[in-house]
Symmetry: C2
Subunit: 276 residues, 2 copies
Amino acid sequence: MNIVISGLGIIGGSYAKAIKKYTDHTVIGINRSERPLKMALECGAIDKIGTKEDLKTADMLILGTFPMAAVEFIEKNGDYINKNCIVTDTCGIKGKICPEMVRLSEKYGFTFVGTHPMAGKETNGFESADADLFVNASCIIVPCKADNTAVTFVSDFVRTIGFTQTPVVTPQVHDRMIAFTSQVPHVMACAYVLSPVCKNHKGFSAGSYRDVSRVAKINAKLWTELFLENKEPLTAELDTLIDNLTQIRNSIANNDDQGLCKQLQMSRQVKEELKE
Amino acid sequence: MNIVISGLGIIGGSYAKAIKKYTDHTVIGINRSERPLKMALECGAIDKIGTKEDLKTADMLILGTFPMAAVEFIEKNGDYINKNCIVTDTCGIKGKICPEMVRLSEKYGFTFVGTHPMAGKETNGFESADADLFVNASCIIVPCKADNTAVTFVSDFVRTIGFTQTPVVTPQVHDRMIAFTSQVPHVMACAYVLSPVCKNHKGFSAGSYRDVSRVAKINAKLWTELFLENKEPLTAELDTLIDNLTQIRNSIANNDDQGLCKQLQMSRQVKEELKE
């Protein structure tokens, strides 16, 4: 296949590296700035630097950019996209993106299948791209209006580059799950390190500080967009979290040892039942 | 030295294993139940199973039990403790324990130096004990009324079994720091997994879920005691956290992209300034 990747940050760059490592496909890179393209070409992550002309012969187009930039890319270059091309995004939210992409796919004739690779690091850019970022990870598939053949095609493809789970869901289910599994931990990490005590933690901390605070080294622009585009599910999950925190806090404040112990036992039980 | 360890759970057991691995001291184990003693003897983590009589010739006594059990052990066996013995606990809170221990040290003539090894796992018991649990970890030293010689002695000792940082603080500073670095992450993890969405997370989660939720597999009895014995600093930190979470939540709910981005940038800056 000819695969065009638009956006060679950590995600697009990792796709490029993984495709070159694990498959025989040709990878063509497109990026706003030149530096990642040169780096990718030099290390063999892409076969060539592309232009919109390459979209005419692309079998697959992977959008590795921020959500709104992904939509804009199609709006600008839709005319060039081969009608047999499978277009997939890598965005962390789907409810806002998918209707736009479906509209554009109908306008330009390509097939859109949403995907969300559940992998990342707390660093950004092509420098952080890793051919093995997706090994054993989950890639959520959001078919929108795509038929089964296209969905199976995308699912099989992502499995060739390391993903081992490919749950298929609607944009709404995706966004509700992601609010909990990914967005809330990022909000928690950010809220946590804003305590005035944080700057003096060294010598007083161990694994639990390190793990909870890790993702506070956040890409503020990207996550502002992701949070706002998932407003309702995210605020609902944050309300649940704040409510649970407040209940535990009140048990402590009221010296309610039995109530507190029961709350903690319930938490332990959740993890045990999940066999984690 | 003759070192008596009372309580061979994950912490006391790891002390025993580390002392046998890295030093030539004799380790004598005392434990309420027999099984950990037999296991420890079998794998060479202790040289013999002890009784209160062994306290008469002990150069050091390490209390590896829950906070209140540590105080009770001294109350029951204080008469047997050699007056030249250095007694140290391993408790996660100090404000409640230290005055009790100082009182007992004055009554029985031994020297007490509080310590808090900043290391652990989300599993318990001697089965989880590990000779290298303390490698590169921090051991907080809380001198209470002990003189510099005793403090240096304890600090040098813990460095022989792997610890590389030994900050010396008052019980109050200890408890305030620990509320933030250790207790809040445990409360957050527990509150987080109580979301009804949690049980369906598989296939939709990655590193941030895994890291934040890890310590929710909590020892409910132990942490109920630790939380309640650190009520004021912990509820103050939880209030700060809930307040910061609510501010981020409100920025999202109000579509305040600039305010939100600024909050996230502040969090990132904290981590960057700490070079984490």
